[in-house]
Structure formats: structure tokens, C-alpha cells
């Protein structure tokens, strides 16, 4: 039998209060369980997305670094570094949030991920097509990395929320509701006992009065 709530008076008033509390706890438990299930469903959706995103980001980065090595081999490391400094600002990232059941997950949108050769900003006269190729590959990789960042952050936030919701559901299911129900049962038993005592007392008094008269 579950523990009883301490300091509870076995009165009808207390019984009514406890019954309301049981109702509230059961309602909360049901709703939180639904939230937990929905969160888990979302988590698996994002997890599936993450698998693809990670694979894609790794492949893109591998291709980009291979292209960079080729560019460095044809132009020299120094020239490639020089071109990198000459390049215009990296594309901006627009970030905002969306809400999944109150969990604010980030949404990252890369603005104009792929640029033309002229837009990149380095000179065309003394550079090679390998450098253009490497830049294009890195732009593609950047888009994949940004998407991966979005999904991985979402996974962490969702996992945290699932954990806390799960803890609340378990606390309600295994501690609070059994304790409340045990206390309700105890009060009912005590009230019944008190009623029986009173009934017996009244009977005794009646018998005594009848004996006197």
C-alpha cells in the first residue's frame, strides 16, 4: 500500500478536497502522458532527419576538403589563403524559432548559399577553376552544416523536454496518485469506523435510558 499524506484529518471536508485533487492529478497525468507521447514522436521525426543531415554534411565536407587540396596543389597554399581573405563576407544566416509544444527549436535559413564566381570577391585573373570548384563545394557544405546544426540542436532540446515530462508523468503515476488514493481510502475507512462507533454509542445510550425508565 502506498504512503499516506501526512497531517490529514479524517473529515468529510478533507475527503472532498482530496477527491478534487485526485481528479486534477489524473487529468494532469493523462495530458502529460499525451504530451510525452507526442514529444517522442517528434523526437523520432527529427532523429530521422538528423541521420540524413549528418551523412550529407559529412559527404559535402569531404568533397569540399578534397577540392581545397586540389586548389592548394595548383595555386599554392599561400595564394588560396590570400584569395580566402579577399573573398567577400560569408552568406548570412537568418535564425528564428518555432514552437513544438512549447519547446523553442531553432530554424536556420542560409541566405544565398551558392554565389557566382564574380560575387565571391577574389580576382579571376590569377586563380584557377580548381579554386572556384573548392569555393562552390564549401558553399554546398555550409548549407548542409547549417541544416545539421538546426536538427541537432532540436534533438537536444526535445530530449531535455521529454526527460522532464517523463519525470513528471512518473511522479504522478507512481507517487502522487497512489498516495492520494491511499489517503482517500484511509479517510473513508476512518469515517466509516467513526460512523459505526457513533451508531454503537447511540445504541448504548438508548439502552441505558430505557433501563433507567
Amino acid at each position: 500500500m502506498a504512503d499516506l499524506i501526512e497531517g490529514v484529518n479524517p473529515t468529510r471536508m478533507e475527503l472532498l478536497k482530496l477527491k478534487t485533487k485526485v481528479k486534477l492529478a489524473k487529468k494532469g497525468h493523462r495530458l502529460l502522458k499525451e504530451k510525452r507521447d507526442a514529444l517522442i514522436m517528434e523526437f523520432f521525426n527529427v532523429l530521422e532527419e538528423a541521420k540524413g543531415a549528418r551523412r550529407q554534411a559529412e559527404a559535402r565536407l569531404r568533397e569540399a576538403f578534397a577540392a581545397l587540396i586540389l586548389a592548394q596543389a595548383s595555386l599554392g597554399v599561400l595564394k588560396v589563403t590570400e584569395c580566402a581573405y579577399a573573398a567577400k563576407e560569408t552568406p548570412g544566416i537568418e535564425s528564428y524559432t518555432r514552437s513544438i509544444m512549447g519547446v523553442r527549436v531553432p530554424v536556420l535559413e542560409l541566405q544565398e548559399a551558392s554565389r557566382s564566381v564574380i560575387e565571391r570577391g577574389y580576382g579571376l585573373a590569377d586563380t584557377s577553376s580548381q579554386l572556384d570548384e573548392a569555393a562552390a563545394r564549401f558553399e554546398e557544405a555550409l548549407a548542409a552544416v547549417v541544416q545539421l546544426a538546426e536538427v541537432e540542436r532540436s534533438i537536444k532540446l526535445l530530449a531535455k523536454e521529454i526527460e522532464s515530462t517523463k519525470r513528471r508523468v512518473n511522479a504522478l503515476e507512481n507517487v502522487l496518485i497512489p498516495r492520494l488514493e491511499a489517503t482517500v481510502k484511509y479517510i473513508k475507512m476512518r469515517l466509516d469506523e467513526m460512523e459505526r462507533e457513533n451508531f454503537f454509542k447511540l445504541k448504548r445510550i438508548k439502552a441505558m435510558i430505557e433501563a433507567r425508565t
Partner: protein, 137 residues
């Protein structure tokens, strides 16, 4: 101690639907905006992905663009609809969801099940929201 627990629990229940919109907005209205967003009950801003809005615009006939109010609510209520069942309300929302799930829809409400909820959320992550209700609501 117990009262504090119940105050927290009541607060928790109240905050369960705080991620819903203060006011829904029509698809037509949102399509005209550069950064389509709505204000939520918790005061935060929720942005819709443009691609999703365009996908919905393609799915629905033009006269329904003004009727579809976003976000679409996926209503979960285990004591009313059963576990793993959700309800979509509103004619335009039902038509859009039915087209995504390749289901038939005639009335003002559509019932969908767990695997379908997953597909729907995957297709429309920002334009759909979960809503939790109980029989008493």
C-alpha cells in the same frame, strides 16, 4: 508541501496549450508577407516556413486560401477520441490534410492516427501544432 505540488500541477496543465496561437491567420494573408509569423499565447513569435505555405497553396484551390486558418491544430484527447487518435477541424484544414495523407474527407472534421500524425508533422512542421484537450474542455 502537497498544496505546492498541486499548484505546480495546475500551472503545468494550464501551460500545456500556451504554445497555441493567440489568433489564427489565413493562408492568403500569410502568403503576402515576407516573414510570415503569428504571436503565441506565451508571447513568443512563431515563424512559418515559406515552402510550407506554398505547398499548402498548391494543395488547395484558390478560393480556400482565405478559409484555411493557420496553424492547423492536431487535437489530441485520449479520453474523447482514444489513444493515438487526433482530430483536425475545419473544412479547408481537413481538405489540405486529407490531400497530404491521401485520404478522403467529406465533413468538417477528420480523424487521423499516430502514423498519419507523424507523416503530417514531417510534411508540415511549422504550419501544424498539437493541441491537448480533455473531455471537460
Amino acid at each position: 508541501m502537497e498544496d505546492r505540488t498541486f499548484r505546480l500541477l495546475a500551472k503545468q496543465i494550464r501551460s500545456l496549450n500556451r504554445h497555441l496561437a493567440i489568433e489564427k491567420r489565413s493562408l492568403r494573408e500569410l502568403l503576402c508577407e515576407e516573414k510570415p509569423a503569428i504571436r503565441l499565447r506565451d508571447g513568443e513569435l512563431h515563424r512559418f516556413k515559406r515552402e510550407e505555405l506554398e505547398k499548402l497553396a498548391k494543395l488547395l484551390p484558390e478560393h480556400m486560401h482565405a478559409k484555411l486558418r493557420l496553424p492547423i491544430y492536431i487535437e489530441l484527447s485520449s479520453d474523447r477520441f482514444g489513444k493515438g487518435t487526433a482530430r483536425i477541424s475545419g473544412r479547408a484544414a481537413c481538405v489540405a490534410v486529407a490531400k497530404i495523407l491521401e485520404k478522403s474527407c467529406e465533413g468538417e472534421e477528420l480523424f487521423i492516427y499516430k502514423p498519419e500524425i507523424r507523416i503530417l508533422r514531417r510534411e508540415l512542421p511549422t504550419t501544424t501544432q498539437y493541441m491537448f484537450t480533455t473531455a471537460a474542455d
